[in-house]
């Protein structure tokens, strides 16, 4: 597979490490009420659809960017590639 890195252009998937469901960006607050239940879902309830999926990939043999790759897991078509940092900020994560 080729992943079109937002900064570096098309790179072979072999340069990347795969993590999975990009929902991992949404880490709950560990000090909040009911944190254990929230973290249970966060750590164990991962999406794994046959079809369009947002995934985390890490350019380990490259510039160390974490990317959010929107990919069809059936056809392997890659629909969008973004820096995870940008996605995280857009979705409300900061400090």
């Amino acid at each position: 597979m080729l992943i079109n890195h937002p900064i570096l252009g098309p790179r072979d998937a072999q340069e990347f490490v795969y993590l999975g469901d990009a929902n991992l960006l949404h880490r709950p607050d560990g000090l909040a009420e009911g944190a254990i239940a929230a973290f249970h879902d966060y750590a164990y309830q991962r999406g794994n659809p046959a079809g369009e999926h947002r995934e985390l990939w890490y350019h380990e043999q490259g510039d160390r960017s974490w990317l959010v790759v929107t990919r069809n897991t059936v056809t392997h078509e890659i629909l969008k590639v973004e820096l995870a940092r940008d996605v995280a900020r857009r979705e409300g994560r900061s400090r």
């Binding site: 597979m1 080729l2 974490w66 056809t75 392997h76 994560r93 400090r95």
Partner: protein, 983 residues
Amino acid sequence: MSQSHRIAGGQIDRGVALRFSFDGKSYTGHPGDTLASALLANGVRLMGRSFKYHRPRGPISAGSEEPNALVELRSGARQEPNTRATVAELFDGLEARSQNRWPSLAFDALAINDRLNSFFTAGFYYKTFMWPAAFWEKVYEPIIRRAAGLGSLSRLEDPDEYDKGFLHCDLLVIGAGPAGLMAALTAGRAGARVILADEDFRMGGRLNAETGEVGGRPGADWAADVVAELAGLPNVRLMARTTVAGAFDHGIFGAVERVSDHLPAPLPGKPRQTLWRIYARRSLLAGGATERPIAFENNDRPGVMLAGALRAYANRWGVAAGDRVVVFTNNEDGLRTATDLQAKGVSVVAVVDSRRGGPLLPGLRHLQGAEVVDSAGRLGLSSVTVRMADGRTEVIPCTALGVSGGWNPNVNIHSHHRSRPVWAEGIAAFAPGADGPAGLAVAGAAAGRLSTHGALLGGQAEALAALGDLGIPATAGDLPKAEDAPVSITPKWYVQGGKGRAWIDQQNDVTVKDVKLAHQENFTSVEHLKRYTTLGMATDQGKTGNVIGLAVMAELTGKPIPETGTTIYRPPYTPVAMGALAGRSRGKEFKPFRLTPSHKWAAEQGAVFVEVGMWLRTQWLPRAGETTWRQSVDREVLATRKSVGICDVTTLGKIDIQGTDAGTFLDRVYANTFSTLAVGKCRYGLMLREDGMVFDDGTTARLAPEEYVMTTTTANAVTVFRHLEFCRQCLWPDLDVQLISTTEAWAQFSVAGPNARRLLEKVVDQDISDAAFPYMGAGNITVCGGLRGRLFRISFSGELAYEIAVPTRYGDALIRKLVEAGEEFGAVVYGTEALGVMRVEKGHVAGNELNGQSSALNMGLGKMVSKKKDSIGMPLSQREGMVAEGGYRLVGVKPVNPADALSAGSHFLPEGAAPVLANDGGWLTSMVWSPHLGHCIALGYLKGGDQKIGTRMRAVNFMNKTDVAVEIVSPHFIDPEGERLRG
């Protein structure tokens, strides 16, 4: 023997004679020959024995689809089994041997299987070797293994090298027949970067095997001219002898180039084969079509061939495979074989045409509405029995039979992403379907366009379309004139009325009868049919037989063929050598080695090294007179505890963490707190995974208010860094914190033991007295009069200890300096074994305890997890099950009888309890022999272990059958109060 079957013409160099041998007998051939064409030229038809029944077999094809003519090539370490004689390029001195026969090809003892064929039907193995179960390993498997397989391995190291390479292009053209050549020419002339790959050693595809003209000249000449023009274009790469084996995602293809298979040995500096990864913006499959036979009784005798192959041997290689030829066809193309052979002066005694009506071939005995129903001849064809249209049968003597059942487009590459081929009624074959790999077009016979004109037109049109997509301007040149004969075919898959021993898959000996049996036993889906009968599971992957098998099944189930469908096509297109897949990654080059800064020095001292991940670390350093590893390790431990020892700890991961939020960041990734750490101090840190289990541990020092340096375990250096980047970029993108791995930047040595400070005082420029550099101190220093370095007062051994770091390039100098400075103290350099002994003596956890399934509480470190702050893993580490009383706790273990040995992996059982799972109390994780204490000691995880200190248990190990009485003790065997550390 002279080349008795050689006739005029062909693309061989008759001026050069190549000597070769087959089963020890010498023959000659010419450059341009394959092993099969040369053997046929010498009148040799019998080339092998079949897999199951050991039936005599000869080639049926002239290409890579060959199921029968599998031979062993070369001898010694280069011996290679199961190579297809039909694609093995002849060279002077080639040695070939038949396989799967004993004692000889002409007389094979296991041919008895053929007489017993009623037992060896489909599913034979499934039905026969079921009972008794105990027989499997001892009786059945050895027998099957001996009888199975075709060729044999030399069991010697392959002396050749294999390479891997990467190529990029605008257009990859797969196949250099008329469609591929026309496409490459169109794209090449337009200036696009083109790769043209063909599995053959001569480009041209079927044009080399046909007599038809292209642009007013023989097709082979036209092909040669196009290849010459392409060779002159700098933007075109011609890759003959290169099989595109698979289509992968996003325009990536795997291709094997047989760089040196046509030579006795690779030329100096050249690999035997190269595995290419080709990145193509657009690609075109122009892989042609493969002819299929019609199955009839005893259709597998040497001499029975595909009609197109018979024609190819005559036209391309100047070989008449037989002197009296019969052709059996259901389509117009089969007639071409008859007329071509007749034109070459070969005696064509009959054309058996299963179709009725239409014009008769002039000057030939053209039997319409007739079928070949049987054949005869012990080791090769001597006659066929023909059933005429009126039902009479006639035995016609002949030495070769050309069979044509139609042509199957080579859809494989197009179907590698699960695109299902679609049935094309006009050619009675499967053609490429929808949803092929993105960017891959198909042209020519592969697309079901079987005429030469159709191929040229399709190749040009698809090249133009691809260039259009890419925005490369191109023009359609003049299309050379070529035949455009329509396909006339009346499907016929097998001849009715025989006993059923009509072969479909000749390599795996699957017959029409086997398909019928599969149907009878309800294995009717094509995927079940395949697995039950082994149809298409041989090295040829059923290129000639699969469609017939599923057509027979369609007939039996009453479903149309399109509905019956095909099995899934998977890479590789033809077999790929393991060596090509391995490339250079074998033996010592299997993976890179990372060497520590002290490696050269240690190697000079005769150190024993151990692989730790990719690192080679010193395991111990034997001295003269030491005969066992234990002597060396015991000495290293005792000398360190008595005076001082030095150990290279460079392999530990080092990560520089800087920024105004560095302390906050560390508080979140470590279970304990680091923002409060004073500058100039370090602290042990425990890192959890989000599921609450311990991930890693190490010490982290604060060198400046906004600068920390973290150490990780050797094993997790990469994964911790990855995790920290995840936290930084994905969880808290606005924290001001930067990370860089400096594992390779610093050479780091541990100096441990009561004399550690005295030794280092001779090397370090600054005051490092206890007052100036207390326990857990850390800071920048200079050594040897000005070289920048770092010093950390930390200890893994439990002794007064430091870790000293200098830039890596000075590591070799520093180890020599430390050893020299330590001479007066009797300093030793110790390896990973002594390191392991001392950490167990001190009760520190390491890899065996940090097993990914243990919590901080399990390790006795539960109090380190701060609940006042949120950190990775903290919430889930507090789950009910994780904090329950009575869970596993780290304990020390010693044998009740000091003479008893302990073994890691033993399970704890109460005294007197039966060794069953219900009584299992935990397990022993790490065991060493403590020279300090004079007996074995161990660490382990024991349920409720914190409440069981002082009690006795048994350590039972079924693997080495030991059962030892042990006492559960504190894991701190040495200096539990830590007085030595602070000395």
